[in-house]
């Protein structure tokens, strides 16, 4: 064999047994090829072997260069979810767990509000859930007490607990911290990629104006009435309704919209699980809109329940 000839020549030149050369050659080639073979087998990992912490990454962005005592400031939290995976909304729906975002703040800083973008419907047979894929932006507003010492620095930490799912699900958590200088002057705006956050802003629901709403429960149905004030109308094409209040509705049943005398009626199905009815139902309504480049706009609904 050619290989053995080469080995013999080399070994004679170096006064080493050719068998040692051959042996080394085989060991070397195995150590090069074997890991590839292992890797190929490992690529076909089942969901459980991937670490939940690798699947969701958190980052914080401050639009201001520093913060000023006695004022409010905003922070953007971006979660980047690995492709093919999703996490859940405040109301996860039929399956999953709500994503929990909590903040560790120094004394003198308080969370005033945190905005969630409207979710996506995640459909499975027999189960409908609500969640997010890809990049998700949350906007939080904090207040700084007037007595906050300055000049100094404030460290804020966001802790996120989630259930990340593809076919299988993995519970996980991640956290991210940001330290902001605290100065007595009015903060300057930072140079940031404007389109990144402008688009994210379009996904937050606003309060619905121009309509009075009311919910009535009739046996298996939940009827939600929208009464326009001053002749306003709703474009119902592609309208989406997301329940924020849990346990009341069957999320898989298609909603039925009706228009009667200028007012609108949304008929939904009650869930099989009987639940205690609250005085107000919270929901998010997404409607077609030519006001935004997304073509859609979301509205926060607080609907009083009639037979409460």
């Amino acid at each position: 064999m050619i290989l053995i000839d080469i080995m013999e020549k080399l070994s004679r030149a170096n006064h080493i047994s050719w068998r040692l050369y051959l042996g080394s050659f085989f060991i070397l080639s195995w150590s090069v090829f074997f890991p590839f073979a292992l890797a190929a087998a490992a690529i076909e990992v089942k969901d459980q072997n991937e670490a939940a912490s690798d699947l969701v990454r958190a980052e914080l962005f401050s639009p201001n260069a520093w913060v000023q005592p006695g004022t409010c400031f905003h922070l953007w939290l971006r979660l980047t979810i690995a492709k093919g995976w999703h996490i859940y909304w405040k109301n996860p729906g039929d399956s999953g767990l709500p994503t929990e975002i909590s903040w560790r703040l120094p004394a003198g800083l308080q969370l005033e509000e945190m905005l969630w973008p409207w979710p996506k419907r995640i459909l499975a047979e027999e189960a409908t859930s609500f969640g997010y894929e890809g990049e998700v932006f949350f906007l939080s507003r904090f207040s700084v007490s007037a007595a906050f010492p300055c000049p100094s620095a404030a460290s804020l930490r966001a802790e996120i607990n989630y259930l990340v799912c593809r076919e299988g699900c993995l519970p996980g958590s991640t956290s991210v911290e940001i330290t902001l200088p605290v100065k007595s002057d009015r903060p300057t705006k930072k140079e940031m990629n404007p389109s990144l956050f402008d688009e994210a802003r379009l996904l937050f629901p606003e309060p619905l104006t121009g309509f009075n709403t009311r919910a009535e429960v009739k046996e298996e149905k939940i009827m939600i009435y929208f009464y326009p004030e001053g002749g306003r109308s709703l474009d119902l094409e592609g309208a989406e309704f997301f329940w924020e209040t849990e346990g009341l509705a069957d999320y898989s049943a298609p909603p039925i919209w009706r228009q009667e005398n200028g007012s609108y009626l949304l008929e939904l199905k009650r869930s099989a699980a009987s639940a205690v009815w609250p005085p107000v139902i919270k929901a998010v309504l997404v409607l077609k809109s030519n006001e935004t480049k997304l073509g859609q706009k979301a509205f926060d609904l607080h609907i009083p329940v009639k037979n409460y």
Binding site: D94, S95, E125, S129, E167, C169, A272, S274
Partner: protein, 202 residues
């Protein structure tokens, strides 16, 4: 008042036919009958068990919510305690072949042994017939059928939706509660609850 047009009426009629009618599985009504094959190849028909209390437990050992109840030993304890009182307990696997949780009969038997589970039988439902009949949404999704064949419970295993083992002793176990009530001849107090878990992989 404008009358709805004929077209929209027809569309609404077609639409309402397409809407899933959940009347099949209603607490307080007769539980839908089915025949399932267990991991030993034995056939079980629900109506044959009339006179006994039957528990249906939708199962997928790879789901973290199911793992919470099995890794704690809690599900197995319920199975042992209640089957020893004459209750029939079926663990049902409705995962389709190739999907998470799917088991061949040999795998199902091995898992039952490994987890020290004690159901009366593990029903293999890879075509999802029993799952769809009961509209099983998640694992674990629990159903209880009384001695008269009436569905008396449909919902979650307990009242704390989480994957944490530590939550089990803090929670109200709806299955345990309902079974105790039925055995005492009382009405089930919590007949339904929102089930939690991973979606069933039809």
């Amino acid at each position: 008042m404008r009358q709805p047009g004929l077209v929209s009426l027809t569309l609404m009629a077609i639409f309402s036919l397409l809407v899933r009618v959940g009347a099949e599985v209603k607490v307080g009504e007769k539980a839908p009958d089915f025949t399932g094959i267990d991991a030993n190849g034995k056939s079980h028909t629900l109506s044959d068990y009339q006179g006994k209390i039957v528990v249906l437990e939708w199962l997928n050992h790879e789901c973290p919510f199911v793992q919470k109840h099995y890794n704690s030993g809690h599900m197995q304890k319920l199975q042992k305690d209640y089957t020893s009182k004459g209750i029939i307990w079926f663990s049902v696997i409705s995962s389709a072949p190739g999907k998470q949780g799917y088991c061949t009969p040999e795998q199902a038997l091995a898992l039952t042994k490994e987890k020290e589970a004690a159901p009366t039988a593990v029903l293999l439902d890879p075509e999802g017939k029993i799952g769809r009949l009961y509209e099983a949404k998640v694992t674990p999704h629990m159903f209880i059928i009384d001695q008269k064949g009436i569905l008396v419970y449909n919902g979650a295993i307990d009242n704390i939706r989480s994957t944490n083992l530590e939550d089990i002793p803090k929670a109200t176990n709806y299955v345990e509660q309902a079974l105790e009530e039925i055995l005492a001849g009382k009405e089930v107090s919590v007949k339904t609850s929102q089930p939690y878990g991973c979606t069933v992989k039809y």
